[in-house]
């Protein structure tokens, strides 16, 4: 018991020293001083006073843009979720046709997930140009990274009985997926998709900042032109969208599970 205690305490010390070093180094690098902090709070106050009252004059354009953001999130999530189903089947140990396919499918999912959505957004803006299309692609890829992994793990958890039962009745691969895998996993797949949609809405807003369409573009513009009253309107609308989607999604998820 004492020996074990000593061991843990040793590795804990190393981790603590490491974290402390990184913290000190990071604080020095970012030149985070008390004066800068207080200045920042001051300016935040400035921003808020200048932003009030919010300016609703361009509300129609803003609403159209926010609708675009929602559509980007929705379409991207649907595409991503649909593509995740076959990929998840290939990336689950118990359903993959071959070990090599398993590794390739897992590799694709890990790769897509390892690169952040904003980076995908930048890549697609450069390759296909500004507008909602790169936003949809970025969301699709991001959703595959998330749902693909989740679906594969969910499939690996299912009871093999119903699959065996169909297999010994001479059913095809497609029949086994339809008759044994999907029914057992669909409720949690749908819950995951809804959760994914919540994240996608947030992503889609941010993606606008790099030019991938929607309300993010509007926010970027009004900030750069110092139109803070308009920016506040946009922020309020973003708040409403995110909260609304979260509520609706939470409601449906509670219905399913």
């Amino acid at each position: 018991m004492p020996g074990r205690w000593k061991k843990t305490s040793f590795s804990t010390t190393i981790i603590l020293v490491l974290v402390a070093t990184l913290l000190v180094h990071g604080l020095q690098r970012s030149e985070l001083t008390i004066t800068r902090l207080t200045d920042g709070i001051w300016r935040l106050g400035d921003f808020i006073t200048q932003a009030f009252p919010p300016d609703f004059s361009r509300i129609t354009n803003i609403l159209i843009a926010s609708f675009e953001t929602f559509e980007i999130a929705l379409i991207g999530t649907i595409f991503g979720a649909l593509l995740s189903v076959p990929l998840g089947v290939l990336a689950a140990r118990n359903t993959t046709p071959h070990k090599s396919v398993y590794f390739i499918a897992r590799g694709i999912i890990s790769f897509l997930r390892a690169i952040p959505d904003l980076v995908w957004g930048l890549i697609f803006v450069v390759t296909i140009g500004l507008g909602p299309a790169p936003g949809i692609f970025a969301i699709t890829v991001d959703v595959i990274g998330f749902c693909g992994r989740f679906f594969a793990e969910r499939i690996e958890e299912i009871d093999s009985g119903p699959m065996d039962s169909l297999k010994v009745s001479g059913a095809s691969k497609l029949a086994i997926v339809t008759g044994a895998i999907l029914p057992a996993t669909l409720p949690s797949f749908i819950a995951t998709c809804l959760f994914s949609l919540e994240q996608s809405v947030r992503s889609a807003i941010i993606l606008g900042l790099v030019g991938a369409g929607g309300i993010g573009v509007e926010l970027q513009t009004s900030m750069q032109l110092f139109r803070f009253k308009e920016a506040l309107t946009i922020i309020l609308i973003i708040f409403a969208i995110v909260l609304g989607v979260e509520r609706v999604s939470a409601y449906f998820r509670s219905k399913i599970i």
Partner: protein, 253 residues
């Protein structure tokens, strides 16, 4: 369908023989109970029969065809003719009884539209109700499977298996997780079906009275070998005792 195994051996990758020299012929319409202690190789034997386990040597043939030479496609064709009943039913819990039974057509019908209650043909939907009626559950068609008792679930599984229009039925401990009354109902049902359609039935059982009262023939397995193979009328109590005698005692003797 009649079938035959000859000198069937199964060795697992750990070098252990689960089956040795299994030879027997099942006549069309015959019902065979396979009995034997835990680990005797009963499940392994029937897995070999449907190609879920590869055999190490020997042969298994259905009618004129030998299964070790079969490619995947022919194996699938063979499986379509064999109805398999599992100990734990293997139904989809969150779907309706009707839908589960309809899934029994998945082997026979390649068109995905025929797999769903709304898009299946009228003929198939009527067949589902016909078989549900046969197993006494027509009134429960719309219920979810997880609202049924174990005995009812096994009857649903049998109705599902009948959708295959099987030529033979194989069962691995179909009543092991049921209470005595439900178990009896399920065994009677299997027996009636096999008699009415002269289907060959092979079932693993642990209940000797079921084996004696409802099967034509009993095969006793012990340590991977056939210890006894007799028509039920010729089986004596001594025969059964020998199969279940403690293997440890024998090693000591």
């Amino acid at each position: 369908m009649n079938f035959k195994t000859e000198n069937l051996c199964k060795r697992f990758s750990d070098g252990h023989y689960a089956l040795r020299d299994i030879s027997f012929t099942a006549k069309e319409g015959q019902s065979i109970a396979i009995i034997g202690p835990n680990g005797a190789g009963k499940s392994t034997l029937i897995k070999c029969l449907v190609g879920l386990e590869e055999i190490t040597s020997g042969s298994i043939s259905f009618g004129q065809v030998e299964i070790s030479n079969m490619n995947k496609k022919n194996l699938r064709e063979l499986r379509k003719n064999i109805g398999f009943v599992f100990q734990n039913f293997n139904l989809i819990q969150n779907l309706s009884v009707f839908h589960n039974v309809l899934f029994g057509t998945m082997g026979r019908k390649a068109n995905p539209l025929s797999w769903f209650p709304l898009t299946a043909s009228k003929e198939d939907r009527e067949l589902v109700m016909f078989h549900l009626d046969r197993v006494g559950l027509a009134d429960h068609a719309k219920k979810r499977v997880d609202h049924l008792s174990g005995g009812q679930q096994q009857r649903v599984a049998i109705a599902k298996m009948l959708m295959q229009k099987p030529k033979m039925i194989i069962a691995d401990e179909p009543v092991a997780s049921l209470d005595p009354k439900s178990g009896l109902e399920v065994i009677e049902l299997l027996s009636t079906i096999s008699r009415e359609e002269s289907l060959t039935v092979i079932s693993i059982l642990h209940q000797l009275d079921f084996a004696r009262n409802y099967f034509d023939r009993i095969i006793g397995l012990k340590k991977g070998q056939i210890e006894m193979d007799k028509l039920t009328s010729n089986v004596s109590k001594e025969n059964l005792d020998l199969i279940y005698s403690n293997p440890l005692e024998e090693i000591i003797v």
